[in-house]
Amino acid sequence: MRLLLSLTAAAVLALLVALWAMGGVDAIGQWAAVQQRGFQNTIALALRSARAGESGAVIALLGACFAYGLAHAAGPGHGKVLIGGYGFGRAVPMLRLSVIALLASLGQAVTAVVLVYAGVLILNLGRDSMIGITEQIMAPVSYGAIALIGLWLLWRGLRRMMGRRETHTHGHDHAHSHNHNHVHGAEVCGHCGHAHGPTLEQVGKANDLRAALALIAGIAVRPCTGALFVLIITWQMGIGPLGVAGAFVMAVGTALITIAVGLAAAGLRGGLLAGLAGSTRLAQAASVVETLAGAVVFAIALTLLLRAL
């Protein structure tokens, strides 16, 4: 039964890879771009109405910002790769992963607000320079941070793979002639007194608060340019607070997509490894998964970083 789950998960994974290889992901991104263009225009019109004080304009603006956030997140960026990679590579409780994704998106909104208002109030920066800063400094920083996290996942996975091999060479030469009343496929071996194969829970707990914070920071440091636009324009128009609300509503939109990606990745991981629960192979498989996830995250982030430099 569990093996079936593993095979199904493996099939889904293979399907996703095939989809990506055939440009399916690009197609989604392209569709997202078309949607985004539509919402962009809606936001522009809503901003005008809001300035004119038309009733219903606020709702229209916030609704358009939310939709924009959803469409924008479906395209490249916004931490999908990182959250997905992390959820796939390490056993993270779904709630925790979702909270991380939400905080990362909200963090992007915070960065946008801070950048804009620091820019206009303190540094008197123009719109172009603020967006220039975002693209020339913060984007590379974000990609760099994500690449590092990918590397960390990769390194942990590799270390685990190496470590596993070492522990297997110990203590199994002793005779098995006495009573074999240990429980197979579960925890502690009765006669040798140590764990053979770990359970799913034991493998790779995402314990670190530090890891979570690194994830959030890596994504949040790069604000969404759509939010920047709304913030700057509303400030110019004298309806700044509405812009701040719009930026956060956008963040909620992007968060929904990112959370969905994270949950799907975690679910896929769970399915993939379910067939191996309790066996010695689980730990090995888990470390391979972690290494792979780390490698993919690192590779993608590095590509983005090099393009941005």
Binding site: G29, G75, I233
Partner: protein, 216 residues
């Protein structure tokens, strides 16, 4: 290229990474024919998308009262904002007759208005070289670099030539073209398509207005 307003940069940045095009213009055309069925003048109507229109009006501090209307002074200021053409800029319009490209004058009789949040500009252009009487014309508004996407969405008007008919040949999105679109999308926003080996990409995605005139 049109005069590059600083906020064009902003527009670029606000788009998802590498997603050309950045400005969307609903285009209209009026083709004025003269004696013997020769194309003489062309009127071009550009309706900018709401997003870009907002950037322009904000940058130029227009419509300060936010009522969606421009007072005469603001209108005067807006008129011609997109008509400061750099030497060599073809006005993003190519007209051919039987395959031969026709020379066009610069923009004349320029207007600009603001309708429901969108900037609408019009201008006329003379066909400055002698055309060979009747035949098939192809009028294609497009930006070779595909920074701007022109879509002929308004009805094409033909003046002074009852024997001519027009139809719009939209780009045939074949598998190849779709792949090209994917490639374009994958470009970094800083990269020009032609640097990435995709020259004249705009032409491939352009709407072409084909005008056939029955011989008199």
């Amino acid at each position: 290229m049109k005069r590059i307003l600083p906020l064009l940069l902003t527009l670029v940045m606000a788009q998802p990474l590498g997603a050309h095009p950045h400005v969307f213009i609903d285009t209209g055309l009026t083709l004025a024919f003269g004696l013997e069925g020769r194309l003489q003048r062309v009127k071009v109507i550009w309706i900018y998308d709401a997003f870009y229109s907002l950037l322009i009006t904000q940058d130029m501090d227009l419509d300060q009262d936010g009522d969606g209307l421009l007072n005469p002074d603001e209108k005067a200021e807006l008129t011609g904002f997109d008509m400061q053409w750099v030497e060599g800029f073809n006005g993003d319009l190519v007209i051919t007759q039987e395959g031969q490209e026709l020379a066009l004058s610069g923009p004349q009789d320029v207007t600009a208005t603001f309708v429901e949040g969108q900037i609408v500009t019009t201008h006329w252009r003379d066909v400055t070289q002698d055309t060979a009487g009747s035949g098939t014309y192809e009028v294609t508004p497009y930006d070779a670099s595909y920074y701007t996407a022109y879509e002929v969405t308004l009805p094409v008007e033909i003046l002074g030539a009852d024997q001519c008919r027009s139809r719009i040949a939209m780009p045939d999105i074949t598998a190849d073209l779709d792949a090209l679109r994917q490639e374009l999308f994958a470009l970094d926003r800083q990269t020009q398509p032609e640097d990435a080996g995709l020259p004249n990409i705009g032409a491939k995605f352009a709407d072409k207005v084909v005008v056939t005139c029955a011989s008199s």
